[in-house]
Symmetry: C3
Subunit: 397 residues, 3 copies
């Protein structure tokens, strides 16, 4: 069985200095070593929790969460991560707060951060806005810390923006790493990130973008498949291409789901809205054109309806590597005859993969905690060692 020292040794072999007192916006802004550090600390924290060793490193402090979109698993993952480290979550609910009353981002950012060690933001609804908002927020608290207003500079964890969903893609990657028995085993494996039909409309692009932006770095053969008209952000496509070149893997776009599934080791069929349409919607919202928004919604739903054949069927699964590709999804999935008539996946496929799907999700709290941990401690290895020596039990014994 592994020991904590194994994780510490791994960390000693990696250079992640830059993560200290830094934020986590996009995976492709981080080095390979930094990503590996995130996975290593995530595994170490999980190892410690499984062995009833407390990882409470904060005696007090707040983790501020700001969700501008519904969320169950990300909300609870963030709360779990904060709790695991000793931070208390405070939701900045714009309903309750005066943010709704025209308070500036700069001001709010500082007003909620006097005792905040972490800020988790989910803002994925509007193209060009979410990630920008996070940067605006963090520039404000950085300034506030410089000016002696905030004793500490809170760290950002991007809980999903318009461009990337790093806590999702990093948890997904850690799942694949464990399923394949190690990071080194991903090289050459084929991953199909494909669009799938959903009766609901306007699902964010950040998941497919996050997946192609990350998985292309591990030397995988990544195929992004979608019907014509369902393109993702061109910038992210560029990122994926560059990553693939650098990592010795490959990246291509296909308009054929079967082509993507053929001999795939990993399949990730999921619905999303066309980038162009989301951009259009963003502008309509800005103009407050509600009729335009309704019209766009109607148009998109009928466009979706033309692609009901984009479904993860048993038949398609048979065409994957040994018919046993690892099926992945960020959840919740639209399951045929369960959550809808026609959806992203057939019920029998989903049922067969329920366990791995839940495991996939179970990495997210640890990935978030790891991102916080790495940004808060200059020498995480030393801290992990000290926690092991201290050996305070999580549950009293």
């Amino acid at each position: 069985m592994k020991t904590l020292q194994d994780y510490i040794d791994k960390l000693n072999s990696l250079n992640f200095k830059e993560m200290y007192e830094n934020d986590f916006f996009l995976t492709w802004e981080k080095s390979d070593a930094e990503l590996e550090a995130v996975w290593t600390v995530a595994d170490a924290l999980r190892f410690m929790r499984e062995n009833n060793i407390s990882t409470k490193v904060f005696e007090s402090g707040l983790g501020i969460s700001l969700f501008r979109d519904n969320s169950t698993r990300t909300r609870f993952s963030f709360a779990s991560a904060c709790n695991l480290l000793g931070l208390e979550v405070q939701d900045l609910d714009e309903g309750k707060s005066q943010v709704a009353h025209g308070e500036t981002v700069r001001e709010t950012a500082n007003m909620v951060s006097f005792m905040a060690d972490v800020i988790g933001i989910r803002d994925d609804m509007y193209i060009g806005k979410g990630n920008a908002y996070m940067h605006e927020f963090m520039e404000a608290v950085t300034q506030g810390n410089k000016d002696g207003i905030l004793e500490q500079r809170p760290t950002l964890v991007n809980l999903q923006c318009d461009i990337d969903h790093p806590t999702q893609s990093m948890a997904d990657a850690l799942h694949i790493i464990h399923e394949m028995g190690g990071l080194e085993n991903l090289k050459g494996k084929k991953l199909a990130m494909t669009w799938a039909y959903s009766p609901s409309y306007g699902k964010p692009l950040s998941v497919p973008q996050g997946i192609i932006g990350l998985m292309t770095r591990m030397g995988m053969e990544v195929v992004l498949a979608h019907p014509e008209g369902y393109e993702v952000m061109p910038e992210v496509v560029e990122v994926a291409k560059k990553n693939a070149e650098k990592s010795g893997g490959s990246f291509r776009i296909s308009n054929d789901m079967a082509d993507a599934f053929k001999d795939a080791d990993v399949v990730y069929p999921k619905s999303w809205a066309p980038f162009a349409a989301m951009e259009k919607r963003t502008n309509l919202y800005a103009e407050g054109d509600s009729d335009g928004i309704k019209a766009l919604e109607k148009e998109l739903l009928s466009q979706n309806a033309q692609h009901k054949d984009w479904c993860c069927t048993e038949e398609l699964m048979k065409t994957t590597k040994d018919g046993k590709a690892l099926y992945m999804h960020c959840l919740p999935a639209d399951i045929n005859d369960v959550s809808c008539v026609d959806g992203e996946v057939e019920a029998t496929v989903f049922d067969r993969y329920r366990d791995p799907l839940y495991k996939e999700a179970s990495y997210k709290p640890y990935v978030i905690a790891s991102m916080i941990f790495l940004s808060k401690f200059k020498n995480p290895q030393e801290i992990l060692k000290k926690l092991e020596v201290k050996k305070a039990p999580r549950i009293f014994e």
Copy 2:
């Protein structure tokens, strides 16, 4: 004055092995020894808090609360219990969460439980649904824990279902035990669980059912009184009958409030909706028949109005044992000329019993904490002893 050792000695005399890593659904699913263990640990925890001894047994961990009905006291009791043991409460608010968006119970249960040690659920609105939902939820996390998705299996505390309200009835019982100077003194005492008029409609059945299902076990003479047509669940009536036989007490149903109050040692006058009507309402909701629901509500209100004479008056109180029966209520009560014109109780009666009523409520946080404690520790006596030896103060000194 009592010492902690007294509580530990009592626990040593009881067999409650089965409670370890188990849930609390219904009181009649637990043995007498198990119920006594709950009261003993509740008293022990209260004793320790009163003596500024910290009972924080969790360094980290979440207590998930899921309320499908409004609540003040139960919500705060659960929060207090979790906090007392070191767990942080996270509400699973279906408004905020994606549960509302068709996510399955199984999935949600696992997604919120990655770091959950306790789940508290209140789901009392629909006959045949609440308790079933709790079981579905717990089967999901049990499976998740077996499959290695959840490192720990969270414990369920039933915060009120369609059948029972165990944290209420157990707190009520602990109140009676203290008022009567010991569990052994309940034998032969008469308890009147009676319906009372309320201008509001559709109050849950779980309180009267919980009371007759529990109090019949201590050898009490339990009378359930209500107007014709206000029957409770037949299954629970059966439970009460069997309990009474076994405990050497008695149980009978009367349609006469005065008969129930006559010489009673304890009276519990409270409104509830007829079982049959609640069942009907459940079906109407299932069919989405809002007109039917409105019609039913109207019908029930006029039915209630025929029984305004079912009120806990001074006159009735005079007929109880020495005119001094212990008046009980789960609160809030409908008080004549205070919260309504005609209600469940006369203001002077309520005022005279305010102190005992608040005391009654004050046991709930400790009962909940006790249920959690007993399910989390294989040897609670040892843990209590260690906490006493450690003697960490709750408030720094």
Copy 3:
């Protein structure tokens, strides 16, 4: 650099015995020594946090917050203060709770306080109601504690009522004290608390009232300026007059903003609603006269509109002491051409003072924590010393 002992020595020179197990309603109900104790402990707690010394004095316990008006900074300040001391915040949201269902204040107060060490209430909307509600609430828990229902008596922190906003004014004062290099330097300084135009309507009176009720105690030359018809509560004007006499400062009312700004050392331009109008609104609400409320709102907005010239302009700022008066605001401010066309302050003025404004706000969490600390410990000096000796790090090291 200061040491913790300096703060302890200062406390040793002050008599604040009465604060132990007491509440904080209004600053003018406290002695000068008690106010100085609040500022001293606030600075001490900040000093300790800056030096990574944990001030967690509660192993468990709840801080109950009850907000009857929107809030960001006060909500987060209260949460931060509770967290800093080890208390977990539980919101008593009247939406979620049964308070909305006619539960009496007395009952609610006890039902939420079984494990509450602190109660923070914001109730500033209705004249004659907010402060009264707080007293009613605290009488209930005091009784509950006497009767053995509550093991501890929670402390009230007034988070803003209809009369005073003590956590704001005390934080404001601490800001001035630090800006001026000591409490003794406030004597003779001119402070202008002036009305300013806002397009929004019905802003609470508690800030201007809190400021004139507090700043007149430090020997300052306080001028309250507003257009005719914008009078504040006469009782508070009386308080301010008496304070000024006693402290050797002065207090006067002016209807001329320029007169107030002339040579001022500190300016606090902020909008508020006329006292008489707020009283009228309270009655209209009581009568449920929504048409009357709409009419009043319209009337007040047009009345405001006649005073758009009441704005904190660069020109006015030039007339202050050396053109460098300390500009203050409780935030959020209505900034010309930023949050509105015409508002309370010109953008260039606001921008120049952003840092001091944020610093001003940053004292609030510490002021609240200090109020809690002083009410919970008989000998705060000893507790501070013990915490320093214990030297538990806030962030693990």
